[in-house]
Symmetry: C2
Subunit: 312 residues, 2 copies
């Protein structure tokens, strides 16, 4: 029997899951409580988000190791200009002084999300705030795809890895959400540490073989993985060998053969980040288990029109 | 001094208001509580919506006199097929059996909103439910653009008009929201009745001189107005003479001259329904007071990028 959270991400012939990427980045500020609440309120039960540690070891939900001016304003209300404060150098009381409610439309990153609501007073949430949100009875079916980001300055430091995993897993376990959370990362060393510290929590392996337009305006992805580019390698076999329950390839890199092989290996396959209608349709045609998207309403529409469910 | 709700719809050199059309029709089911709550939660304080009466005289929020299969499912969960139940023939207990949470993508109307979230168990709300929502302290700045729809079968029946206005105004007054509500209509006879019964509530005159793509898949607009197509007529003068506080033209029909004339007459000018980025920009350039839109986040983005506010 599949663990509860793996079952929640698994599709079938009439079911494809919808995963809200950073909440619903196309519609609301990314990695914000208001965005997570929106996704849950429209019946998208699966949330993807990114967790980093502050200087005082508080797990917070934010994507980049440094705050960028494209989507972060300082206490003066202006987008950060040049300055790039590092999350790991800020204490929690400093982190909450920044406002993540708007995008700067003069930046490449800002231009990627022309429909995102613009708000004031939106703060980087603690992981514990999201855990509290999904602990409400109305969201009892919600499951979490919790991405652990490796710190590029300490990628080879096993003590840092141990601390990241232990602090984050403690929060999840204290909230009694271990059976509703997947540990998700590009960093295979971090995921190995997750397997060691929390063997009961399924892990999910993100892969991206080449840079894509999804990277525009973002921190570069930290690919601490085996050399997946080798022509003779089977990525799903590697994921399976590493103890993965989920495989999460960049959508345009998934082939029908690799999907079939992943299924043979018992892996659940979720693709990221699928936003364009034609790409959504292609992933439905391919028959993936789950679609990670910035536009969960749009994916619901494609699925609904084609007679698919996203919940059971 | 302007009445409170007229001030809330009025812009200035650095402020253009955002009005959520039927809540946020581009993102969530139209005229639903979840859609209204979304718009309010992103800081869009002005809501446009449509009110009809059921057979048992309950004011409900829905646009069309007949439920269409494009966006309404019956108790069996299937989109209405051919059948077009009339709201004025249904009792409230029957109205709530229909589900307005999804769009049928095989219809012209359904195709117009490809990003709308697809939900189950969403009901046509009573007017009183929305009034309760905006009565919460967190939404104390919210104001309402309440559209009264004339029943085409009874457009000339003054007793019907009196009843529509009296039942709706009673709900608004009981909720103590008369100073936060504009009465809004295409039907000048209905608005005259509003002036008679509720002289303290400002009225807003909708105009549309020609059919537009905004009408695709909708009930035809009921234009019970003076003959505004006459070349020598000034629409803002007619609105002012009829006692209007707001004029709400179809956006592409508004000229700079008419806007200037409306300002001379002390009218507030809100344009409907503006969804495309280039149209939003054109309305910002023209300097309207308020933009009615299905995509409030998108309008916020255009305004934010150009240094405008939407609240004071």
């Amino acid at each position: 029997m599949k663990p509860r959270q793996v079952a929640a991400f698994s599709g079938d012939s009439k079911t494809i899951r919808v995963v809200g990427h950073r909440g619903a980045r196309g519609i609301l500020p990314e990695n914000s409580i208001v965005g997570f609440d929106f996704a849950l309120s429209i019946g998208v039960e699966l949330l993807e988000f990114d967790v980093l540690l502050t200087a005082d070891d508080v797990p917070v939900i934010t994507h980049n190791h440094e705050f960028h001016g494209s989507g972060v304003r300082g206490p003066d209300g202006a987008f950060l200009n040049g300055e790039r404060p590092r999350v790991s150098s800020l204490r929690m009381e400093e982190v909450v002084r920044f406002d993540i409610g708007r995008l700067d439309g003069t930046t490449d990153y800002g231009r990627r999300f022309p429909d995102q609501a613009q708000m004031d007073g939106v703060r980087v949430p603690r992981l514990s705030e999201l855990l509290r949100l999904v602990s409400q009875p109305k969201y009892e079916h919600a499951c979490l795809m919790l991405e652990l980001k490796s710190d590029p300055d300490f990628a080879q430091d096993s003590a840092v890895r141990e601390r990241i995993v232990s602090v984050i897993c403690r929060d999840v376990c204290e909230a009694k959400l271990a059976d509703r959370t997947l540990l998700h990362s590009f960093d295979w060393a971090l995921l190995a540490e997750c397997r060691r510290q929390a063997p009961d929590m399924p892990v999910s392996f993100l892969t991206q073989l080449q840079e894509s337009e999804d990277d525009v305006g973002e921190d570069s992805a930290i690919l601490v993985t085996p050399d997946l580019d080798r022509p003779d390698i089977s990525v799903p076999d590697e994921v399976s060998r590493a103890g993965g329950s989920l495989w999460c390839p960049y959508f345009s890199e998934l082939t029908a053969d690799d999907l079939a092989r992943a299924r043979e290996l018992g892996l659940c396959v979720a693709v990221w980040t699928v936003n364009e209608p034609e790409d959504i349709d292609a992933m439905i045609d391919l028959g993936v288990d789950a679609i990670v998207t910035d536009y969960p309403g749009r994916v619901q529409r494609r699925l609904s029109d084609r007679g698919y469910r996203w919940t059971r």
